[in-house]
């Protein structure tokens, strides 16, 4: 108490200190952004990360002998033939056939017809599943073995489905299961699977089991019997991740079996800084954007239901050769199921917040959180700066300004929310036109604002900026604990809006240098505002990332023009409606709602700031502060 008092007395007792301190804030804020970014590059260093370890002793990964070999392969091949025969069969027939196999094996089986619709946009499919009641179990707990019919790329999961059924058959011969085994063959990895999980927890399914403790998703497409390496996908929706123990278990088992594991498509050793950094960035991208517009790997459908799951994708080479054969993959799944079966408690021992640098290395939340927190805090500090600097001008109307700016801020946010509700409500086919209209209207906004607001004193603009920055700062820091990657990503996108925006000055420039300086700051502001336009960014993301395969390798205006004109607008519409569907059907709140509720208001306010002429108070203030200090 006394310490605080004395600090306060020291700092603010003397006149002029306050101003000089306030004038330090923008610099501090900018330094925080740089520090946050720098911290991100510290993370992949070897000393900052830790080696993974099995925290839950009950798992005993790789300790059990696996027996899925020998004559079982003949059965796998037969199921593969059967799956191939069903490739073009209608959904109903496929479901019926698979259901029959499951019943013959001794599973309680059922089909699950699902439909989700939004106006005439209907998505439907048939899932098949079966339950093996654990001998001596009481259907209290279960674990899930899932082999989507189509994998994340839309390819037929031929070996995956065949191996899962052969494994399911093989599992009936064991009496060691302490949990029921649910074999699930959903029609796809996104809506079908997530609808099944939702219905399992909410409605009466004809065949049911207990609470699901963990799951393995099998992804082994193609006819080949061999694979090159094993890829682990683990990202959940809304930034949720499965317990690190589950991933470790799979990695340890792979180590025992001599299978090469890779995380998120990064095939590289973890000895080099660069490789770890790439894996980290790819992990961040996956976490931030999972479930957004394309089917995920499958495991993310279980997140949010307290079910830890990973997708084990066998990467096949084009010619069908590889060092490992399909039975090894089967034994890997068998060993993983044995480990989950060993669990007495729900997965809880290890980390739920982590970033993998390689299959064997990770950074935990305590290490990586400062990145997003620092960037998030920079917005709050900048917001405080705008507030304090604007309230220091002694116009006497500060309070009125604060209120009316607040109303404008509220109006902008509510308009954005309204726009969001509209987008969620209108038919999918109209989303593209809506985006088109909105993006066409947005350039008009600044002009309108200019007419409206130019009469207002400059502190009004600062108040507005202050509100939106504090809002964004609070939002990003909160989000960073839930979905670190998204918070970081948004923070990086938003940072220029907080730091490189300068309102136009009303006073005419005095010298040529000042004129040039003003021109460049103005240019910078406009570049920043255009570059952070949500619509433009989404379109760019679509062009560069989604259409990556068609993106021209040699960049020139001509190739770009051809590329853009070749990209069909229909596909872009589908991409947009896919994003809406991810919110509507999968409950991904961490992108589309965030886009509308946070990104859009911030951007609109920035538009206002750039387009309005106002005396540059910040520099004035700094000068004033200096003068006072000198006096």
């Amino acid at each position: 108490m006394t310490i605080l008092q004395s600090i306060r007395r020291q700092l603010f007792g003397k006149k002029g200190t306050r101003e000089s301190l306030v004038s330090l804030l923008p610099g501090l804020s900018f330094v925080l952004v740089l520090a946050g970014l720098a911290w991100l590059f510290v993370l992949p260093m070897k000393d900052q990360s830790r080696r993974t370890y099995i925290s839950e002793n009950a798992l005993l990964p790789g300790q059990a002998h696996t027996y899925f070999h020998g004559s079982e392969e003949h059965i796998v091949r037969a199921f593969k033939e059967e799956v191939r025969l069903l490739k073009d069969a209608p959904d109903e027939k496929r479901a019926r056939t698979i259901r029959q196999w499951l019943s013959d094996i001794g599973y309680k089986s059922a089909t699950h017809n699902w439909t989700i619709s939004h106006y005439d946009d209907v998505k439907a499919g048939v899932n098949v599943y079966g339950v093996l009641h654990a001998p001596r179990g009481d259907t209290t707990e279960s674990m899930i073995l899932c082999a989507p019919w189509l994998n994340r790329d839309g390819a037929l999961n031929e070996s995956g489905v065949a191996i899962s059924i052969a494994l399911a058959r093989y599992f009936t011969r064991w009496s060691i299961w302490s949990k029921d085994i649910i074999l699930l063959i959903p029609s796809d990895t996104s809506f079908g699977l997530s609808k099944w999980v939702e219905d399992y927890h909410y409605t009466s399914m004809p065949v049911s089991s207990g609470s699901i403790q963990g799951g393995i998703v099998l992804d082994f497409p193609g006819e080949g019997e061999r694979f090159e390496n094993l890829e682990i996908f683990y990202s959940g929706l809304n930034g949720q991740l499965p317990n690190l123990d589950l991933i470790n278990t799979v990695v340890v088992i792979c180590g025992h079996m001599g299978i090469k594991v890779i995380v998120h498509d990064i095939d590289a050793s973890d000895d080099e800084y660069e490789n770890r950094a790439i894996t980290l960035v790819s992990g961040i991208a996956h976490q931030a954007l999972s479930g957004l517009y394309r089917p995920g790997a499958g495991s993310e459908a279980f997140s949010g239901w307290r079910i830890d799951s990973v997708t084990l994708a066998a990467k096949t080479s084009r010619n069908g050769y590889g060092p490992y054969d399909q039975m090894l993959y089967g034994r890997l799944v068998e060993a993983s199921m044995r480990s989950i079966n060993n669990l007495l408690e729900h997965f809880h021992q290890s980390f739920f917040f982590y970033l993998l640098l390689s299959p064997h290395r990770f950074v935990s939340i305590a290490t990586y959180l400062p990145t997003a927190m620092l960037i998030g805090a920079s917005f709050t500090i900048k917001g405080i700066y705008y507030w304090m600097s604007s309230s220091s001008t002694k116009t006497g109307k500060t309070f009125d300004e604060a209120i009316s700016a607040f109303w404008l801020f509220i109006t902008i946010v509510s308009c954005s929310i309204g726009l969001f509700s509209l987008s969620a409500w209108i038919p999918s086919s109209m989303i593209a036109s809506e985006v088109f209209v909105v993006s066409a209207v947005t350039p008009i906004l600044p002009i309108t604002f200019r007419l409206f607001i130019s009469a207002k004193p400059p502190s009004y603009i600062n108040k507005l900026q202050s509100y939106v920055l504090i809002f964004v700062g609070l939002f990003l820091t909160t989000l960073s604990t839930l979905n670190f990657s998204l918070s970081l990503m948004l923070g990086v996108i938003f940072a220029p809006l907080a730091h490189f925006l300068t309102p136009s000055l009303t006073t005419p420039p005095k010298t040529l240098i000042e004129c040039l300086e003003r021109f460049f700051t103005k240019l910078m502001s406009w570049i920043v505002v255009v570059a952070t336009c949500p619509w433009l960014d989404i379109y760019l993301y679509y062009l560069i990332v989604v259409k990556e395969s068609q993106f021209p390798r040699q960049l020139s205006l001509r190739t770009l023009r051809i590329f853009i004109t070749n990209t069909s607008q229909n596909e872009f519409c589908e991409f947009l409606s896919g994003m809406m569907w991810s919110w509507r059907a999968l409950g991904v709140w961490s992108f589309v709602p965030v886009l509308f509720v946070v990104w859009l208001p911030l951007w609109l306010v920035s538009c206002v700031v750039v387009s309005v002429r106002a005396p540059q108070i910040s520099t004035n203030l700094r000068k004033k502060g200096k003068n006072r200090n000198d006096g």
Partner: protein, 649 residues
Amino acid sequence: MFLLGSWIYLLAVCILFDISDCALVSRGTYIESLDLKPLPRNTLLASFNFEIYSDSAAENGLVYGIDGADFLAHYGLFPRSVGQIVKSTQTHELHLRFTQGWWDSEEWGLLPHNGKYTGGTGVEVWAWIATEQDDEAENSWYELVNALSGLFCASLNFVDSSRTTPNPISFRPDSSGGSSSIFTNPTARKSNVSSTLHLYHGSLPRETVCTENLTPFLKLLPCKGRAGVSSLLDGHRIFDSKWQSMALDFVPICDSDNGCRLHMTQKVDVVLDVLRSLQRKHSPVPKPPPLEELQCDTSKSYHSESICFPLPSPHVVEWKLSDVFGRKIKNRCLLDQRSEYDGSSYSVCTHITPEWHLTREGGTVVSSTPSKACFSLHENDEFDIGFLTSNSTSVSKNERPPVYIQRSMTGRGQQNGGVQTIIHNPSMTDTVSLVYFESLPWYMKPYIHTLAAALSTSALSPIPAIKEEVVKDVLYRPFLERIRGTYLELKLEIPPDSRLTLSYDFDKTLLYLAEYPPDANRGFDVPPGILTVLTKDDNGTISYAYTLRTSSLLLSLPTPDFSMPYNVIILTSTVMALAFGTIYNILVRRFVYEDDVVREHTPLMQKLKQRIGAKFVLWKTAAEGNKPPESGKLQEETGAKYKSLDKKN
């Protein structure tokens, strides 16, 4: 003392001569039997039945209040350990169940004995206690479960008030006497006030039933599992089953002629997976079968040497009782008095269809029809039956149960959730009336106003039923935190060919740290719901026709990280220390304005010199002798400060 001595003498006489000739000692009657019934998908239901009748109890000393010395006479066959517990706790009727596994109603049909001897998962116990006062009865109940806990090596002592439900209507006493009791308190008898019966029910769904429970269970039998059908009861095989249930029932049988007799029934019902048991003979682990043993569907177009579509579970099977149980039946329990009891002499019966062929080793065929064959056992003989069939799917099917039930948890998150129970009446013609009983732990806080009933026929989607049409009566006693759980009993009537979906919402509770059990992250088990089907005969009397239970539920409560208390203690201590320091500081310090204090601007070096000088002086004085230190200058300085303050004031 004299009495005791005389009994010991008598016993010695009995032992010296032949026990069976000793007419003086009443021994009671013991019968045992084993029923074997193949079920679909190569499973076998084995029902062991052991029954002990005492001779008339009321006269022989179980009447409450008569000197304990009489007791010795009574325990011929009836186990003394049970008798004493029952007597000391004034238990009128006792039912104890150990169950593990999941009964597949669709495949296996009706539960054995119409579910009368089946419990919910884990351990379940209910008893009627005969006392005058409620609290006395409750104490007796806790005494009873504690004693049983010791006797059966089960955690029954954890049945406390929060796990006990008094007087649910789902249970009725088996004893014919109704409310009259074999226990008549001497004082009560004098005043002609008969004590009343109090029913208590408790269950422990999390308890794992294992060999440690089977061993004391077998010890109660007269032949202790060493001879007769009980010799088959090997823990390794019984607990490798798909489903198993052990029951112990103690019921007094009273009639006007013979007075009261005690009847104890012990039953073990097991469903065994025959193929898995056979595989165990070759290898304890399910290694893949050799290629030549694969049963392939050769009709498939792609069938070849390396591709094999497996045939469904084989239909041609041959196995022996000893393959499944790991041993043969040894001897005959000589104490088995079935012939005296009902004139027959069978011990083992099989229930099969004509497509099965039996081979016998030892024993004698007592009766044989195409659907049922019975055998008796011999002394000093080993008995085994071989089963052979070309079509194992042909089994004498159990009847379809009158209802199916399925219960599950709904919702997500750690704050609240819901429970959904689906009761299906498969009959096309009959309305089923039933009682559904649920007892919920107190940390699951249900909202009964959310209790909803939806009916759907097989074709239509669920329509919200008018609750009154289906739910005839609701008996509900709300929970009291940390004292008792929720008791909910519903009387329902379900129309033919329809499904009733009952659902309600509940809140989850954050427990105190010490209340979390070990392995708290597993979740908390909610006891199974008990469904009793009622039938009405022509006279209008209602009887309990069939009982079945749902599976237990796993309730996940918000669970803290248990290293947290340590962190909390550290943090609290730090905060406390800081707060104390500051507050203490504020309390004892005097604050003055900076400007009011005339600060001496002494240069640093000078200050140091002064300090060292003062120390030096101290040393000096100490060396010279114990003179008081002269620190006059320092004192003066502080004195000046205070003076200036005083002036101000």
